[in-house]
Amino acid sequence: MALVSMTVNGKPVSGEVEGRTLLVQFIRENLSLTGTHVGCDTSQCGACVIHMDGKAVKACTMLALQAEGSAITTIEGLAKGDDLHPVQKAFKENHGLQCGFCTPGMIMTAVDMIDRIPNLDEETVRAELEGNICRCTGYQNIVKSILDAAETTPA
């Protein structure tokens, strides 16, 4: 076991982990932040996407110890109090979710996408979602949500 420390959603946290403990396990099990989901074991589905030092990463694809000293944002840290992030609002307004399981990863991917890419269009959004699988929506309303949020988010 080793001690790992990082900042998660603005709060310093630390915990004892095994070398093999994945970052997503640390977030879900040690920190009880269960909004970050595990939908596969091959880094394909994107349900576990979080932000590490400002970049979207799949928390199932790195060890907790690799995140030592980093600043992590999870879906729970996106809203400011009761004030939802524009991407969260857009997903609700545009029916961008059904069962909700892929949603945290979709939203974290979308926030990152909007931050990185100015003037998003549908084709770009669809290409950028390549690492996130949704089984419910057929993606149409997810794409709509992201384009809607991109329009309302200041560059």
């Binding site: 595990v38 596969c40 729970e76 609700k92 069962c99 549908e122 290409a127 949704c134 149409q140």
Partner: protein, 786 residues
């Protein structure tokens, strides 16, 4: 009109928790002192177990206990059951071997359960499982449905000779064979309906907690129907008495049928939690989902359609081999029979239909209902052969369909179903307009100028939903009734709790069911709470599948609301000193006709509980009612989907250039949610047509066992879909609803394949029509391509 009532695109009440990470799925829950289970699975499709050596494994760090099939057998637990009995042509019951929770002396598919390791941590359980030594005598496997009935094929169950569970028939055989003998044209088609893996994004999971003080078990699990799970676990498996077992299905991340069934894992966890007197948690890894979730489809069929010179359909004969996998899953036998053969008349006035289905065991994962369940297979068959008939007889595909549409209702088909209502011309007309059918030749020519091959394909589908009248399904072999229940509890403050036996795992019931309450009572939607998925809170229920929650579940709610309104009006009459017949309820206010007297909903509710103002000898205090609703008929959603594809002949890549869907779902409660259901269904249907296939090799190894190998549709594989609606209200339930959950997955695969075969000028192409298959078909056009 209420802005949150029927027909309004109300934004979903449940979304807040899902978009903030506050959803509570089974794996998000933990119990004090919990242990973790890992299931050791068979790496072989077929093997005898000579022995299992646990010596090293039980001594591994953190191991609490290890259970095998002999432990289960020693406790006298029953096996898993199939709840629908199908009969063969000779009247005999279907034949099946036992379905043990943990394998006893034989494993029958890769992923079959050999041992359950329970340890302090999941990693310890998994590590200890590696130390279990299983002495397998590996045997040949029957992995292919097409050859499993051959005499030389390895046997899955001794009880089912030639691996045949049943040979079932339906329809009017003599008339059908006579029609085929005498027809001017016979259109023949051999079709494969590819095997799919449901892949709900949330893997299956369970936490079982036994309370030794009360002898009560609680099981949190990923279920579409927790009451059915409780019934099966108690009455048939014998894990616990029904009144001592509470099953909770909290937030569930998609089901698509795969979470209807009662599986070995949650059963074993529940049983073993009492053995070790600690909670046990199990969550599937995705690889386990691929191996052990019930798969879908997997038919091989031959069909012959008799057509008169003028294009009139005279008869349809269908012979199908349906893969059941290694064991009968919970509803496996009903899917390729009563949910399939009964829909083979399609939208057409076919005088004769005869279908023969062999249910076939193979050494593969069990096959059961997956979104549409039997109806996609029926629709694929009839819409492919009708399109083929149009091409062979040089009819316009839309017009040949139109020529044969049913136009008078009710319509009795030769295959049980009695269609209550529909307007198939209306759907077709609207779809033709939306897709701009007249402009297709120009679009095709334009595509040609860019070197692309453009094709168009139709699918005018019918399905049977709202499962279903209890007596009807009982007469067909169902072991359960398919009613639904609802309970409405009005609190003294006027807030309303609805307890429904339907279960929402993405469908948005917490919003749509509340919309019905708003429509009827006129209270704000935030004053309504929809409670589901807990046998400890909801009186009873049959769950959510078969697009039944609206037409059956909401109909039960409508009946309960009728009772609430009737009682509330009686109380209001006393409180307002008026005649009950003069009381009106609108927008949350009771009024007395012809007066200015008013009583707010919350005042009435409080009055019902204080019980000061009415004679309690005549009217009981309180305001709480329930209803059990049994539907009068199946419902029959129908519609027309049209797909246009463009194919790149250099690469074989198919692009969906245009997809139009016009559906008649009867009354629509929330158009936003309904459109979402259609979009998701179409995506799964396109997935089947272009991308997805569960492939076993000849030894029974699953080749497509991860998202790396099994091609799930991604955002950049799909376009936006162009949706439209027509409406004929369903006369068979008080809501007028037909159901919308499965239509997209049912209708779309033949539309896509009809478009591809049109573009390529070939007779058939197997699903999924991958670039390799398309390219091969282009390289060597033949009547039937692989």
């Amino acid at each position: 009109m209420s802005t949150t009532g029927i027909g309004q695109a109300v934004r979903r009440k449940e979304d807040k928790r899902f978009i903030t990470g506050a959803g509570r799925y089974t794996d998000d829950l933990n119990r004090p002192g919990q242990t973790y289970a890992y299931f050791l699975r068979s790496p072989h499709a077929h093997a005898k177990i000579n022995g299992i050596d646990l010596t090293e494994a039980v001594a591994a760090p953190g191991v609490v206990s290890i259970f095998t099939g002999s432990d289960v057998a020693a406790d006298g637990l029953g096996g898993l059951i199939c709840g629908w009995t199908v009969h063969s042509k000779d009247g005999s019951e279907m034949k099946a071997g036992a379905h043990p929770i943990l394998a006893e002396d034989t494993v029958r598919y890769v992923g079959d359960h050999v041992a359950m390791v329970v340890a302090e941590t999941y990693a310890q359980a998994k590590s200890a499982a590696e130390l279990i030594v299983v002495d397998y005598n590996v045997l040949d496997a029957a992995a292919d449905v097409g050859t499993a009935q051959d005499g030389s094929a390895p046997q899955v169950h001794a009880e089912a000779p030639s691996n045949t569970c049943f040979d079932w028939e339906l329809g009017n055989k003599p008339e059908t064979l006579a029609a085929l003998k005498n027809a001017a044209h016979i259109v023949k088609l051999d079709l494969t309906n590819n095997r799919l893996i449901p892949n709900a994004m949330e893997p299956r999971a369970a936490i079982a907690d036994y309370d030794s003080g009360t002898d009560e078990y609680t099981l949190w699990t990923t279920s579409q129907n927790p009451h059915v799970a409780r019934l099966v676990l108690s009455a048939f498996v014998g894990v616990a008495p029904e009144h001592k077992l509470r099953v909770i299905a909290p937030d569930v991340g998609g089901g698509f049928g795969s979470k209807i069934f009662i599986y070995a894992e949650e059963t074993a966890c529940t049983w073993a939690s009492a053995k070790i007197k600690r909670p046990i948690k199990w969550t599937a890894e995705r690889s386990e989902s691929f191996l052990s979730d019930a798969h879908g489809r997997d038919h091989v069929s031959h069909a012959e359609l008799a057509v008169a010179e003028d294009g009139t359909f005279l008869g349809l004969h269908v012979q199908t081999k349906a893969n059941l996998g290694a064991y009968l899953s919970t509803f496996a036998s009903s899917v390729p029979t009563y949910l399939y053969g009964t829909l083979l008349s399609g939208q057409y006035a076919l005088p004769a239909v005869y279908v023969e289905v062999d249910g076939v065991f193979t050494h593969t994962a069990p096959v059961d209902a997956y979104r549409g369940a039997g109806r996609p297979e029926a629709t694929y068959l009839i819409e492919r052969i009708v399109e083929t008939a149009a091409r062979e007889l040089a009819f316009d595909p839309a017009e040949l369909r139109r020529k044969n549409f049913i136009r008078t209702f009710p319509h009795q088909t030769p295959v049980i179903m009695n269609y209550d209502i529909g307007d198939y011309d209306a759907c077709l007309d609207k779809a033709l307009a939306l897709v701009d059918y007249d402009g297709f030749p120009a679009r095709k020519a334009e595509a040609e100028s860019r070197g692309k091959k453009r094709g168009i394909g139709f699918s005018t589908y019918i399905e049977a939903c709202g499962l279903a009248p209890s007596a009807a399904v009982g007469s067909l072999g169902a072991g359960v009734g398919l009613w639904e229940s609802a309970e409405v509890q009005v609190a003294p403050t006027g807030k309303i709790e609805v307890f429904t036996g339907a279960h929402s795992h993405g469908q948005g019931h917490e919003t749509t069911f509340a919309q019905l309450v708003c429509e009827r009572i006129g209270v704000p939607i935030d004053d309504v709470e929809i409670i589901h998925g807990d046998t400890g809170r909801v009186q009873f229920g049959m769950g959510t599948y078969g697009s039944r929650s609206g037409s059956v579940g909401m109909s039960a709610l409508a009946h309960a609301l009728d009772k609430i309104e009737a009682k509330a009006k009686k109380i209001a009459a006393h409180l307002m000193e008026a005649d009950a017949g003069d009381i009106e309820l609108k927008d949350g206010v009771f009024t007395v006709a012809g007066t200015d007297k008013e009583l707010a909903w919350a005042e009435l509710a409080l009055g019902a509980y204080t019980a000061h103002g009415f004679p309690t000898s005549e009217i009981e205090p309180g305001l709480k009612e329930n209803a059990f609703y049994d539907p009068l008929n199946f419902t029959f959603p129908s519609g027309c989907h049209i797909c246009e594809v463009e194919i790149d002949p250099d690469t074989g890549v198919t692009q969906i250039a245009n997809f139009v869907a016009v559906d008649d779902f009867g009354v629509i409660v929330n158009p936003m949610i309904v459109e979402g259901q259609v979009q998701g269904g179409i995506a799964q249907g396109i997935g089947q047509a272009l991308f997805e296939a569960a492939h076993y090799d000849e030894t029974g190894q699953l080749i497509t066992g991860s998202f790396m190998d099994y091609c799930m549709p991604r955002a950049d594989d799909l376009p936006d879909f162009d949706l439209g609606f027509t409406q004929t209200d369903c006369p068979s339930n008080p809501m007028g609803m037909k159901g919308c959950g499965e239509a997209g997955a049912i209708a779309s695969p033949p539309a896509v394949i009809n478009a591809i075969t049109d573009a390529l000028g070939v007779r058939d192409i197997k699903m999924p029509a991958t670039p390799a298959r398309v390219w091969a078909a282009l390289a060597a056009p033949s009547p039937s391509s692989d």
